[in-house]
């Protein structure tokens, strides 16, 4: 390595500072024992990522020239994401230790751990906070919404996890295959050809729809009810963005996905339970906020076809226990939680019970709703991991 003075020295100092920061992050993460349920696999992944960035920085130093453009490029495209991810993880850890957020963070981890386990992807996720729920691909961080400490937003984490599942769920017996990604690409091209939509946008939107269907498939009505009540914007129900389909399309896709579950199961009883969830619980709620308007026939056909295909993807490639239990008496659990009972139930059951209760009791005062949430969060955090 040739060290020189002047302009080069300044460059090298800055590169070395970046390397030092990477090492500092690794040391911080290594020292931290409060990573919650984060598995060694995720820690290792982070370590590999940090080493890769360090290697890229070292190459800059070895090159000898003051390549500021390359450093800027590395900073913006490669280092910032790692630093943000590390910061997110550390924030999550700190929050987990905070008395106000500890309960909901542990509850969220239980929900995610349960979903990961049921999906069979054998990969834990990192949990952190942000202004809104989102998934960050760098090391697979799911951010929950700050400063929400209630049970109500937890189903939305399943949607964020769905983004990770899309990229990691293999096909049976083909560990390198990614059937969701394959479907999304093919379907996006088809949709673009038929509707004239931009293929990239179509792909982004289909990813969102998959995440919606995943969350609905795994959690049941809790997800559509949560996302509709807490996130959907009535003034923008019909608006799609470059990345997200319209709320109307999303809601109908979720309704159709639950209806599709009723077709998949062998037992007419369980099928009936799914149909009721779709037609008696979710759809009336959607109609209540959106008005009782149906999609036009063409849009309805598209939604139904895609919902059916997305449900089939999960049915074929994920373990059967990923599908939420339609035969479970969520109302009964909801009543027991409302009575303050010390209940031990699966995370998905608790979330469904919570949202069914809230939907059935729209007039409940904030104190009652808060109390219910506290009991539900306690129930979630005491679930055996």
């Amino acid at each position: 390595m040739s060290e020189s003075t002047g302009a080069n020295a300044g460059f090298l100092t800055q590169v070395r500072q970046e390397i030092a920061e990477m090492e500092q992050i690794e040391a911080a993460l290594h020292r931290e024992h409060g990573l919650g349920t984060t598995s060694a696999q995720v820690r290792d992944e982070f370590a590999v990522l940090l080493r890769e960035r360090t290697r890229e920085l070292t190459e800059l130093v070895d090159a000898g020239a003051a390549d500021w453009a390359r450093l800027d490029q590395l900073r913006a495209g490669r280092l910032a994401a790692v630093k943000a991810a590390a910061l997110g993880v550390l924030e999550g850890i700190l929050l987990r230790a905070h008395p106000l957020y500890a309960d909901v963070t542990v509850a969220a981890e239980r929900v995610l751990d349960d979903l990961v386990d049921r999906t069979g992807i054998r990969r834990d996720v990192l949990l952190s906070v942000a202004g809104a729920e989102r998934f960050e691909r760098t090391v697979g961080i799911i951010r929950m919404r700050f400063p929400d400490v209630t049970v109500w937003g937890l189903p939305i984490l399943a949607h964020e996890l769905g983004h990770m599942v899309a990229g990691t769920l293999p096909a049976p017996g083909q560990s390198s295959a990614r059937p969701v990604e394959e479907y999304v690409s093919t379907e996006a091209e088809l949709e673009a050809a038929i509707t004239g939509a931009d293929p990239t946008q179509a792909r982004h939107r289909l990813h969102e729809l998959f995440a919606d269907v995943y969350a609905t498939y795994a959690l049941g009505p809790a997800y559509p009810l949560a996302v509709l009540t807490l996130r959907a914007r009535p003034d923008r129900f019909e608006d799609a963005t470059a990345t997200h389909p319209s709320w109307t399309r999303r809601m109908w896709t979720m309704v159709e996905a639950i209806r599709e579950l009723s077709v998949l199961v062998a037992s007419p009883l369980v099928g009936q339970a799914y149909r009721r969830d779709a037609n008696v619980l979710v759809l009336p709620r959607w109609f209540a906020v959106h008005g009782e308007r149906l999609l036009d026939e063409r849009a309805q056909r598209l939604v139904r076809r895609q919902a059916k295909a997305l449900v089939a993807l999960l049915d074929r490639n994920a373990p059967p226990r990923l599908r939420y239990d339609g035969a479970f008496d969520a109302d009964g659990l909801g009543q027991r939680l409302a009575a303050g009972g010390d209940e031990s139930a699966a995370p998905g059951a608790v979330l469904n019970a919570a949202w069914r209760w809230r939907t059935a009791n729209p007039q409940a005062d904030p104190e009652t709703t808060r109390r219910f949430s506290a009991v539900a969060v306690t129930s979630l955090r005491t679930v055996t991991a």
Partner: protein
């Protein structure tokens, strides 16, 4: 030449003899227990004596000298053991019979009815002799006595004795006992008795057998048992408690207690009652139907509304959903109206019924939570092909599980039959009291209500 025999006197004597025969037969029916008691005591005594004999044989074998003698005693001991096992089996069978038998608390009522008729016979005879009654009027009084009251009495008691025999011998497939257990869970003191089909039974005059309710042949299957929730509801109404009176007063006009009985049965039995009542019995309203069917539509509406209030989710909600879809589809097929004209009034009544029944301390609402506790495990057992499993906690849990299982493959008759058989096998009677301790209560029923009520009601 002696005067010709007086035909009226002959007929009156004959009638008197018949009535006295009824009294004797009823008295004899009650001696079933005595005869069984003798048998039970004999069995117990034989078992005691055998135990003593076995002990003596065993002791003698220990002290015996000589191989042959020792072997003979050993062999005797083994034979005695076999005999003891056989006697134990006989005693268990006797105990089973005894459990199935019911005491007729109605014997007094029967004697009163017979006594009343005998008194009327004597009155006719005396009035004719004294000239107070002309022969023409006496014959008219005899005809009235013979053709109506006595005929009904005889029919009732043929039913009663036939029913008792069917119960005692278990030819009703123990459905009566299952029904008794259900009625007990529902807090009534009614007992079930197998009887002739409804159409063949006397139509005129409601037969009175106090607290016995008829289990019409050939409906001695597990599927119809939930219908007795309705009779339990009628019995509750007839007790005249303030809560029952309150609810009766809230009933839409013209319902005559049947909506209260439906509400009671639905509340206490959950989806099993709706399944049996709506799927097996109710006549769907058709386009331009006369008065009868709208009442059925009202009943179905009340039952379904109460059920929805008891639980919407899980298997509970699914069973209700299937019953509802099935009913609505049938109504559509017949061109009838799904929504009853007085829907709002019925909704108010159903809501009122729910809050009223919540205050009946002897009754527990069979909601989705209780369904999960009492029926879910049984449903899992019924779904698997292997026989056996732990007995269900309650009859209502068993009935709900059986109906849920049936609805899973309702178009497969062989499957439905297998589920019915397995459900019956899962149930084992539990009797707290000693043998033959079951006594029907002495509840007095209100006048007959429209519906399935097959209760023997007083005239």
């Amino acid at each position: 030449m002696p005067p010709p025999p007086d035909l009226l006197v002959i007929r009156l004597d004959e009638l008197q003899e018949d009535i006295e025969e009824v009294q004797q037969v009823v008295a004899k029916a009650e001696t079933r227990h005595e005869r069984l008691k003798v048998l039970r005591e004999a069995g117990a005594s034989a078992a005691d004596r055998l135990r003593t004999a076995r002990k003596e044989a065993h002791d003698a074998a220990l002290d015996a000298e000589g191989t042959q003698f020792h072997e003979a005693l050993e062999s005797l001991s083994v034979s005695l053991k076999d005999v003891a096992a056989q006697i134990r089996q006989i005693n268990e069978t006797v105990a089973d019979f005894d459990r199935a038998m019911i005491h007729l608390k109605e014997a007094e009522d029967i004697n009163n009815r017979c006594g009343q008729i005998l008194e009327d016979i004597r009155d006719i005879r005396a009035s004719v002799r004294s000239g107070e009654l002309s022969y023409a009027d006496a014959w008219a009084a005899f005809d009235d006595l013979s053709d109506t009251r006595c005929r009904t009495l005889f029919s009732d008691y043929v039913d009663l004795l036939g029913g008792l025999t069917l119960r005692d011998t278990g030819l009703d497939d123990r459905i009566s006992e299952l029904t008794d257990a259900l009625l007990d869970e529902l807090g009534t003191e009614l007992l079930a008795l197998p009887a002739r089909p409804a159409d063949a039974a006397p139509v005129e005059g409601a037969p009175s057998l106090g607290s016995l309710i008829k289990l019409w042949f050939p409906e001695w299957t597990i599927w119809g048992v939930p219908l007795f929730g309705y009779d339990a509801g009628l019995a509750w109404v007839s007790r005249g408690t303030p809560l029952a009176a309150q609810l009766l007063a809230a009933e839409p006009a013209g319902s005559r207690g049947c909506l209260v009985a439906d509400a009671y049965a639905t509340y206490a039995l959950g989806p099993a009652y709706a399944s049996a009542a709506i799927l097996l019995r109710m006549r769907t309203p058709a386009a331009g139907d006369p008065a009868g069917s709208p009442a059925e539509a009202a009943r179905a509406h009340v039952i379904l509304r109460i059920l929805r209030a008891l639980g919407e989710s899980g298997t509970f909600g699914a069973v209700v959903g299937i019953v509802e879809e099935c009913w609505h589809e049938a109504v559509r097929q017949r061109g009838g109206q799904i929504e009853p004209a007085n829907r709002d009034e019925l909704d108010r009544f159903a809501d009122r019924a729910l809050s009223t029944l919540d205050n009946v301390t002897t009754l527990r609402r069979f909601d989705s939570q209780l369904w999960d506790r009492e029926a879910r495990g049984v449903l899992d057992l019924l779904r698997i092909a292997e026989p056996g499993g732990p007995p269900p906690e309650t009859v209502r849990g068993l009935l709900n599980a059986a109906w849920a299982a049936r609805l899973e493959k309702f178009d497969n008759r062989a499957y439905v039959n297998a589920i019915g058989t397995k459900a019956k096998r899962l149930w084992t009677p539990r009797h707290g009291g000693g043998a033959g301790d079951k006594w029907p209560g002495s509840s007095i029923h209100s006048p007959r209500k429209p519906g399935y009520g097959t209760t023997f009601l007083p005239r």
